[in-house]
C-alpha cells in the first residue's frame, strides 16, 4: 500500500519500512488532446491557479504546461518573503487575501510550506519616511490589515544587531507587520502541484509552448514541443517570460523583463528572527530555517533574460548590509543567483482578459510575485472560471495604463527598473 496523505503518523509508518511506500508527489501524465483550461507556466502562480480551479471551482480538466521543471523559475529563486503591507487600495486587499491564504495553506494543501509569520520590519530613517510609512500603515489598518509603528527602543529589543549608534543614516523607527514573514518557497510549488495533481490536474513538464492556435480572435489551444494541446481557455502565468509568450499571440505588453538577484549566506545559528528592510540602502534580510541569511536588494536595472546579475548590484547589497548590521562582516556569502522579473510599468500586476477571446493574462508581478502566489492563483482561477475579475484583483486591469488608473506604489512612473 502506498502512502499519499502526509502527517506525522504516515511519516512514522513509512520510517518503519524505509520510506518505500511514498507515492510520487505528482504524476507525469502525457498531455491529453484537449482540456477545458490550459495554464502556461508551471511556477507558483500557474500551479496555484490549477489548484484553486480544481478545489474552488471544481474544474479539473486542466493542464499546467511547463517548459522545464515545475518550480524552476521565480518561485524557487526568491527571498521567500510574504507580507501584505501595501499602500494603495488596488493592492492592499489583494495581498491581504494572499496573506490569509498563506495562513491556511498547510491545511489546504496537506503540505508544510513552513509559513513563518515572524514579522516584517521596514526601517525608516527620516521624518518624511516615517510619514510615508504611517500613511501606508494606516492604509493597511483601514483595510483590516495589521500594522504598527515601532520606535527605536522597541527596535533595539527585536533587532539588537542593527547599527543604532554609528550609522550614516540613523534609524528612527519602523513599520512592522507582524503577520508578514517567510515561506519555504520550493515547497509552495510542490505543495500546489501535489494538491492539484491529486484533484486530477495534469502537470506536464518539459513541454514548451511554441505558439497559439487562434481563429477568428478566439483561442483554440497551444502548440507545444509535445504537440498541439486543445483548450477552451488558456491562462498565461509566465512571469519573466510573459512578453515572449504573449508575443506569440500577437500581444505587446506593458512589461519589461529584469534580473533580480538574491543571496544566501552560509548557515549560522539563529541571528535574526524577523524580516528587516533597510530604508537608506538597498538591502533586506531574513534568516532561513536552515540558518542561511537570505537577503537581496535592487534589481540590476537593465532588461535581461539571463538568470544572473552583475557586480555593482552585488556590492551595493553588501554595502547596505554592512551599513545596517556590521556584525555580519565575517558571515560569508554562499551563493547568489538571479531571477527574471516581469516588471510592469507601474509596478503592480495584471490579472485580466486579453484582446484574444479565451486568452487570459496573469503577469507583471515585479518582485512581489512570491507573496502573491496564493491570491494570484485564487483570482486567476476566478477569472478563468467565471470570466469576471475577482473583487480583490479588480484593479489589475490591462487597460489601466490607457485610462490612467495606475497603481504605482513607489511613485516612480513608467520606468520598470525603478519599481
Amino acid at each position: 500500500m502506498s502512502t499519499d496523505r502526509y502527517s506525522i503518523f504516515s511519516v512514522l509508518r513509512e520510517a518503519l519500512r524505509g520510506h518505500t511506500g511514498w507515492k510520487p508527489a505528482w504524476r507525469e501524465p502525457e498531455p491529453k488532446a484537449e482540456y477545458d483550461i490550459v495554464i502556461v507556466g508551471g511556477g507558483g502562480h500557474g500551479l496555484a491557479t490549477a489548484h484553486y480551479l480544481a478545489r474552488v471551482h471544481g474544474i479539473t480538466n486542466v493542464a499546467v504546461v511547463e517548459k522545464g521543471w515545475i518550480g524552476g523559475g521565480n518561485v524557487g529563486r526568491n527571498t521567500t518573503i510574504v507580507r501584505s503591507n501595501y499602500l494603495l487600495p488596488g493592492n492592499t486587499p489583494f495581498y491581504e487575501h494572499s496573506m490569509k491564504l498563506w495562513e491556511e495553506l498547510e491545511q489546504d494543501l496537506n503540505y508544510n510550506a513552513m509559513v513563518s509569520q515572524r514579522g516584517v520590519v521596514n526601517l525608516f530613517h527620516s521624518d518624511g519616511q516615517r510619514d510615508a510609512y504611517a500613511r501606508r500603515g494606516n492604509a493597511m489598518r483601514l483595510h483590516g490589515v495589521d500594522a504598527e509603528l515601532l520606535d527605536v527602543p522597541e527596535l533595539k529589543r527585536i533587532l539588537p544587531m542593527l547599527d543604532f549608534d554609528n550609522a550614516r543614516f540613523p534609524i528612527k523607527g519602523a513599520l512592522r507587520q507582524r503577520r508578514g514573514g517567510t515561506v519555504r518557497h520550493d515547497a509552495v510549488a510542490w505543495g500546489y502541484a501535489r494538491a492539484a495533481d491529486g484533484r486530477g490536474v495534469d502537470i506536464i513538464q518539459n513541454c514548451e509552448v511554441t505558439g497559439f492556435r487562434i481563429e477568428a480572435g478566439r483561442i483554440l489551444g497551444v502548440e507545444t514541443t509535445r504537440g498541439f494541446i486543445g483548450a477552451k481557455k488558456v491562462g498565461l502565468a509566465c512571469a519573466g517570460n510573459s512578453s515572449r509568450v504573449a508575443a506569440m499571440a500577437g500581444l505587446r505588453l506593458p512589461i519589461e523583463s529584469h534580473a533580480l538577484q538574491a543571496f544566501v549566506s552560509e548557515g549560522i545559528k539563529p541571528f535574526i528572527d524577523t524580516v528587516c528592510t533597510f530604508g537608506a540602502g538597498h538591502f533586506y534580510i531574513s534568516q532561513s530555517d536552515k540558518g542561511g541569511l537570505v537577503f537581496g536588494g535592487d534589481i540590476d536595472g537593465y532588461n535581461s533574460y539571463a538568470q544572473r546579475g552583475n557586480l555593482p548590484t552585488i556590492e551595493d547589497v553588501a554595502e547596505g548590509g554592512m551599513a545596517l548590521m556590521p556584525a555580519i562582516g565575517r558571515v560569508k556569502l554562499l551563493r547568489h543567483w538571479g531571477g527574471i522579473m516581469d516588471m510592469s510599468m507601474d509596478g503592480s500586476p495584471i490579472i485580466d482578459r486579453t484582446p484574444v477571446a479565451g486568452l487570459y493574462l496573469n503577469a507583471g508581478w515585479c518582485y512581489g510575485g512570491f507573496k502573491a502566489t496564493p491570491a494570484s492563483g485564487w483570482c486567476f482561477a476566478h477569472l478563468l472560471a467565471t470570466d469576471a475579475p475577482h473583487e480583490v484583483a479588480a484593479a489589475y486591469r490591462l487597460d489601466r495604463f490607457a485610462t490612467g488608473r495606475l497603481i504605482d506604489e513607489k511613485g516612480v512612473g513608467a520606468q520598470p527598473n525603478l519599481h
Binding site: W22, F169, D186, A187, I314, E319, G404, D408, G411
Partner: protein, 993 residues
C-alpha cells in the same frame, strides 16, 4: 606539545618554529606552513566537527576549499568567524578555534540523538509533518528546527577589521597556480603582457606541492618555487596568493577575494583583513584543477575516511600522517600514488581495494607496500564512530571481511573544477571518456586548461597551460618570450573514476552530501517521490546546498539519480553552479565605506559655521543640513523651531538654501527647451525675472518643481528640489540629447558653485541692503518680487540676488561663489544683528512652507498630478510639454481624485500627524471610507495650532467641511476642518513687501 602524527621529515613546513594554537580550549602546536587541519591531524585530532542534521562526528575529508566536514569557529568576540574550513585556515601563533554545531561538547553532542530519529528525518520529512496544530509552527517546531540548524555563530558585535575593495586590469588573468596555471602565467608573463595569477592557497603549486613528483629533473615543489620567483621578477605580472577568484561576470569582469590578514592574529595597522578585487581581464586562463569525489558506502563519513589526494597532501606537503594503518579504496590509478606515498611515509598498508579489475600500476605499488590487494571489490562500510577503527571489505566474488585500520583513503575519481565556466551560462558536458563533466561553454575570452579541462596528466597540463598563456597574450597583442614546459614524470595513469558511485548498502549510512547529511537513501526517496530532475533533487534533499556548495557531492548525487532512474547522466541533468566559487565574507564585498562613511556626506557652505552655532543636523539625502539652531534654555526642537519661525515672520532669518539643485541653461534655444520640459512657459519671461515652474514625467505625473530665472537672452538659471537634483539633471540631458537634439541648449550643474542663502522676513531688505555694494538698488522698485539681479556684495564679491520667497515673507536669495559662503553667512548674521536676525533650519523652513501651502517632497510623491497639487492652472494651453498628453487621461483628470487642501484641528489643541488618512465624520474607519491622506504637518505659530496639508477627494470643493484624520498606527483620531492650503497671508501681501 608533541605532534604524534608529524612525520620525522619532509613537508613544506618550517619545523624550526612552533606555533601554539588552541582547539576547543586545548593547546596544540604546529608550524608555519600548516593549515589548522594539518596541525590538528599532526596532533592526532581527527574529530573536528559535527554534521548539519544528524550531528554525526566528522573529521577532515579534504585538504582544500571543498571541505564539507572540518568547519570551525575561528577567533572570538567581534572577530568570531563561523564555518571556517580548517583545511584552508592558515595556522598562526595564538590561533583560537572551536568546534561548532554541538552541545555541550564535540565529543559528546546531545543532538546526536537526531541520528536515532534519522529514519524519520529523511529528505523532505518536514514538508509532511509539523502541520498540526498550525499555530505551533512558529511557536514550537520552527524555533526547535532553527536552533538545531545552522552551523557556527556569527559575531554579536560589529566587525572591527577594515576591508578594502580595489580594481585591477590585466591582459591575462590566470586562475589557479598549479602546474597549468604556473605554465600559463610564465608563458603569458614572458611576453610582457599584464598578467594576474590568482590562487586561493597561501602557497603556489597546487598538486605540485602535494605530490612527490619530478619536473625537469627536480622536485616539482622546487620547480614551483622557481616559477614563482621568476613571476615575481616580471614587472607586469602580479601574483595574488590567498586569493580566490569567486565569480565570472559580464564583460571580462571577475570577482576575487584576497585574504590579506587572515593568517595573522589581526590585521597590521591600516591593513585590511581582506581585499575584494574586481579584475577586468581581456583574456582568462582557468587552471583550477580538479576535485576528488567520494564513493558512497556505509559510514563513509566516519572521521578517518579521507580523500586519497588529501592523504597525499597531508603526507607530502605537511609532513603529517593522517593515519598509521591505512586502507586505500579507489576506482582509478591515483591509488597507486597513494599507496606509494603512504608506504614511503612509513604507514602500514592494510589493504588496497580497487573497484576495477587488475591494474598493473596498482599491483606494483601494493606489492611494494606489502598490502592486501582486492581487485573488483569494495569497501562496504567503515566503522568506528568518532574515528575509523576498521572497515568491511567485499571482494569481487561477494565475500566480505573486516580489517582494522585508522585511515581509509578514498578516491572516486576526479571532477574538473569548472565552476567559473558556468557562471555566464556555460553548460558543462558529460564526457564518458573522463567519467566527468568538462567545460561546455565558457565566458567570452576564457580558456580552460589542465585538470580543469579534463587533462589530468602533469605533462599535458603544463603543455596546455603554456600554450593557453602564450595564446592569450598573443590575443592581447603580445608576443616573443617563450616558455617550454619541463619534462614531467608522467605515467599513463588512469585517473578517471569509472564508478562505482555507490556500494550496495550493507549497514550504516552512505553519504553523498556530507555536510547536509544527504544519503543514498535520500536520493532514492527523492526519485520515488518524483523529484527526479537535478534541480528538484537539490532542492528537495538539500544536496549541494551546504557551505561547500556540493563540490564533493553534486556529481555523485547526479550519478546516483541517473543510476536509480535508469537514465544516462546527461539525460538526468547537469550541475550548474552559482558564484561565489567559495564563500566570501560580506565585509569584503562591502568594502571600506561603512558606518558614517557608508555614503558620501555633502556639506553645504555654511556647515562649519553652523557647527560653531551648535546646530542640530539632519541627514537629507547625502546632505547634512541644519535642522534647527537651539539656544540655551530651549528644551526641545519644537520650542526652537517656533522661535525661529516667529523671528522670520516678525524680523528676519537666514537659511542655507545651497542644497537646492542649480542648473545653468544656455543656448539660443534655451527658452524653447524649458518650454518643453515645464508645464508653464519661460521663453517669453523677461530677462531679470524668475518664476515658479513645475515639470511632469511623460506619464503626466508631477516630477519636480523649482524656480527658473532668466539671466540673459539665452541664459537661464534653474533650481530643482534638493532630493531630485540628480534625477532632474539626467532627465534634462535626456530631453536635450534624445528628444530635442536640434535645439541649441547646454546644461551645466552649478549646484556646488554657488552658496545661496535665503534671507527672509520683514527686515530682510535691510539686511540685503547692508550687504549690497553701493550702486545696487535692492528697493522694491529696484528689485521687485520675482526679480533677479547680478550685483556685488561686501566690497566686490560678485553675487546673484533673487527676490523669491518660500516662507511667504518678503525674502531674498543671495548667492555668492561657494568659497565665500562661509564668510557670507557670517556677514549676513553681522548685518542682520541690528534687526534681530536668527538662523533657521530645515524644520522652520518646513513649517513656513506648510503655512504657505507650498508643495514639497511629501506632496510631489510621484503619485500626484499638477491638478492634484492645485497647479493645474499653470499648464500652458498653447504648447505641448512633457507629460501634457497623458495627464489628460480620464483617470488622471478625474475630478474625484484627492486634491491638495489644508487642514486644521477642530480642537485647536490637538496635534496632527503626517500619514493620517481622512474619513468622513461619522463614517466607519475602513478602506471604503478612505478619502485621502495627510502629507505634511507643522505646528504653526501664526495660527497657534497644528496645521496640515494633504490630499482629500474633491478637496477643493469641500472647504469648511469637517472630516476625521485617523491615524490608527499611532492611535490618532482628530477632527479636522478642511481649509484652503494657505495658513498665513493668503493674499500674498507680505512677499511683495
Amino acid at each position: 606539545m608533541s605532534q604524534p602524527n608529524r612525520l620525522a621529515s619532509g613537508g613544506l613546513i618550517d619545523r624550526t618554529r612552533p606555533l601554539a594554537f588552541t582547539f576547543d580550549g586545548r593547546t596544540y602546536s604546529g608550524h608555519p606552513g600548516d593549515t589548522l587541519a594539518s596541525a590538528l591531524l599532526a596532533n592526532g585530532v581527527t574529530l573536528v566537527g559535527r554534521s548539519f542534521k544528524y550531528h554525526r562526528p566528522r573529521g577532515v575529508l579534504t585538504a582544500g576549499s571543498e571541505e564539507p566536514n572540518a568547519l570551525v569557529e575561528l577567533r572570538t568576540g567581534a572577530r568570531r568567524e563561523p564555518n571556517v574550513k580548517a583545511t584552508v585556515a592558515e595556522l598562526y601563533a595564538g590561533l583560537e578555534a572551536s568546534s561548532q554545531n554541538r552541545f555541550p561538547s564535540l565529543a559528546f553532542d546531545l543532538l546526536a540523538v537526531n541520528q536515532l530519529a534519522s529514519p524519520v528525518f529523511v529528505a523532505g520529512f518536514y514538508y509532511k509533518t509539523f502541520m498540526w496544530p498550525a499555530k505551533l509552527w512558529e511557536k514550537l517546531y520552527e524555533p526547535l528546527i532553527r536552533r538545531a540548524a545552522g552551523l557556527g555563530r556569527a559575531a554579536e558585535a560589529a566587525d572591527p577589521d577594515p576591508y578594502e575593495k580595489t580594481t585591477a586590469h590585466c591582459d591575462v588573468l590566470v586562475i589557479g597556480g598549479g602546474p597549468a596555471g604556473l605554465a600559463a602565467a610564465l608563458a603569458a608573463g614572458r611576453t610582457g603582457a599584464r598578467v594576474i595569477l590568482a590562487d586561493e592557497d597561501f602557497a603556489l603549486g597546487g598538486r605540485l606541492i602535494a605530490e612527490r613528483r619530478e619536473l625537469g629533473g627536480q622536485s616539482a615543489a622546487r620547480w614551483a618555487d622557481e616559477a614563482e620567483a621568476e613571476l615575481a621578477n616580471l614587472p607586469e605580472v602580479t601574483v595574488l596568493r590567498r586569493t580566490s577568484v569567486l565569480g565570472a561576470y559580464d564583460g571580462g569582469v571577475y570577482g576575487a577575494v584576497e585574504r590579506v590578514s587572515d593568517h595573522l592574529r589581526e590585521p597590521a595597522p591600516h591593513q585590511p583583513r581582506q581585499r575584494f578585487w574586481r579584475i577586468v581581464a581581456k583574456r582568462a586562463v582557468l587552471a583550477a584543477g580538479a576535485l576528488e569525489r567520494p564513493i558512497a558506502f556505509g559510514g563513509n563519513d566516519t572521521p578517518g575516511v579521507m580523500f586519497a589526494g588529501a592523504v597525499r597532501a597531508y603526507l607530502n606537503r605537511y609532513g603529517v600522517a593522517p593515519g598509521r594503518r591505512a586502507v586505500v579504496y579507489a576506482n582509478n590509478d591515483d591509488a597507486a600514488r597513494t599507496v606509494a606515498d603512504l608506504n614511503a611515509a612509513g604507514c602500514e598498508l592494510v589493504a588496497v581495494v580497487d573497484a576495477r579489475g587488475d591494474s598493473p600500476a596498482l599491483h606494483a605499488a601494493a606489492r611494494t607496500a606489502g598490502a592486501l590487494l582486492v581487485f573488483g571489490g569494495a569497501v562496504a562500510r567503515a566503522y568506528g564512530g568518532q574515528s575509523v577503527k576498521g572497515c568491511e571489505i567485499v571482494d569481487a566474488r561477494g565475500g566480505s571481511f573486516n580489517v582494522a585500520c585508522d585511515l581509509v583513503a578514498v578516491s572516486g575519481g576526479w571532477n574538473p573544477t569548472i565552476h567559473l565556466t558556468t557562471h555566464l551560462g556555460g553548460r558543462p558536458q558529460w564526457r564518458d571518456d573522463l567519467a566527468a563533466f568538462a567545460p561546455g561553454g565558457t565566458p567570452p575570452g576564457m580558456t580552460v586548461v589542465g585538470a580543469a579541462a579534463g587533462a589530468f596528466g602533469l605533462g599535458e597540463a603544463l603543455a596546455a597551460g603554456a600554450q593557453a598563456g602564450a595564446e592569450a597574450a598573443n590575443d592581447c597583442g603580445f608576443s616573443g618570450g617563450t616558455f617550454d614546459p619541463p619534462r614531467a614524470d608522467d605515467d599513463s595513469g588512469e585517473t578517471r573514476g569509472l564508478g562505482p558511485w555507490r556500494v550496495p548498502a550493507k549497514r550504516g549510512k552512505a553519504f553523498v552530501d556530507f555536510q547536509n547529511d544527504v544519503t543514498v537513501k535520500d536520493v532514492e526517496l527523492a526519485a520515488r517521490e518524483g523529484f527526479r530532475s537535478v534541480e528538484h533533487l537539490k532542492r528537495y534533499t538539500t544536496l549541494g546546498m551546504a557551505t561547500d556548495q556540493g563540490k564533493t557531492a553534486n556529481v555523485l548525487g547526479l550519478a546516483l539519480m541517473a543510476e536509480i532512474t535508469g537514465r544516462s547522466i546527461p539525460a538526468t541533468g547537469l550541475t550548474l553552479t552559482r558564484p561565489p566559487f567559495t564563500p566570501v565574507a560580506l565585509g569584503a564585498l562591502g568594502g571600506a565605506h561603512r558606518a558614517k562613511e557608508f555614503k558620501p556626506t555633502r556639506l553645504p557652505p555654511s556647515h562649519f559655521w553652523a557647527e560653531e552655532q551648535g546646530a542640530v543636523f539632519v541627514e537629507t539625502g547625502l546632505w547634512m543640513r541644519a535642522a534647527y539652531f537651539p539656544r540655551a534654555g530651549e528644551t526641545d526642537w519644537l520650542e526652537t523651531t517656533i522661535r525661529e519661525v516667529e523671528t522670520v515672520r516678525t524680523k528676519v532669518g537666514v537659511y542655507d538654501a545651497s542644497t537646492l539643485g542649480k542648473i545653468d541653461v544656455q543656448g539660443a534655444d534655451a527658452g524653447a527647451f524649458l518650454d518643453h520640459v515645464y508645464i508653464n512657459t519661460f521663453s517669453t519671461m523677461p530677462i531679470g525675472k524668475a518664476r515658479y515652474g513645475l515639470m511632469l514625467r511623460e506619464d503626466g505625473i508631477a516630477m519636480d518643481d523649482g524656480t527658473v530665472a532668466r539671466l540673459g537672452e539665452t541664459h537661464y538659471y534653474v533650481t530643482t528640489s534638493t532630493a531630485h537634483a540628480a534625477s532632474v539633471m539626467r532627465h534634462l540631458e535626456y530631453c536635450r540629447q534624445w528628444l530635442f537634439p536640434h535645439l541649441d541648449v547646454h546644461l551645466s550643474s552649478i549646484t556646488d558653485q554657488w552658496a545661496k542663502y535665503a534671507i527672509a522676513g520683514p527686515r530682510s531688505r535691510d539686511v540685503v541692503a547692508a550687504l549690497a555694494d553701493d550702486g545696487f538698488d535692492v528697493s522694491d522698485a529696484g528689485l521687485p518680487y520675482l526679480g533677479v539681479k547680478e550685483l556685488t556684495v561686501c566690497g566686490g564679491t560678485r553675487a546673484r540676488l533673487f527676490r523669491l520667497s518660500f516662507s511667504g515673507e518678503m525674502a531674498f536669495e543671495l548667492a555668492v561663489p561657494a568659497r565665500y559662503g562661509d564668510a557670507l553667512i557670517r556677514a549676513i548674521m553681522a548685518a542682520g544683528e541690528p534687526f534681530g536676525i536668527c538662523p533657521y533650519g530645515a524644520e522652520a523652513l518646513s513649517v513656513m512652507r506648510i503655512e504657505k501651502g507650498h508643495a514639497a517632497a511629501a506632496e510631489l510623491n510621484g503619485q500626484t498630478t499638477a491638478a492634484d497639487l492645485g497647479l493645474g492652472g499653470m499648464m500652458s494651453k498653447k504648447k505641448d510639454c512633457i507629460g501634457k498628453v497623458l495627464s489628460q487621461r480620464e483617470g488622471l483628470a478625474d475630478p474625484a481624485r484627492p486634491r491638495l487642501v489644508g487642514f486644521k484641528p477642530v480642537d485647536r489643541s490637538q496635534r496632527l500627524r503626517g500619514g493620517a488618512h481622512f474619513v468622513p465624520r461619522g463614517a466607519a474607519v475602513t478602506a471604503a471610507n478612505d478619502e485621502g491622506y495627510m502629507t505634511s504637518v507643522a505646528y504653526s505659530p501664526s495660527n497657534g495650532c497644528w496645521v496640515g496639508l494633504g490630499f482629500l477627494a474633491r478637496g477643493q470643493e469641500r472647504i469648511g467641511e469637517i472630516v476625521r484624520a485617523v491615524d490608527p498606527v499611532r492611535d490618532g483620531d482628530v477632527e479636522v476642518e478642511v481649509v484652503a492650503p494657505v495658513f498665513v497671508d493668503p493674499e500674498g501681501v507680505r512677499v511683495r513687501g
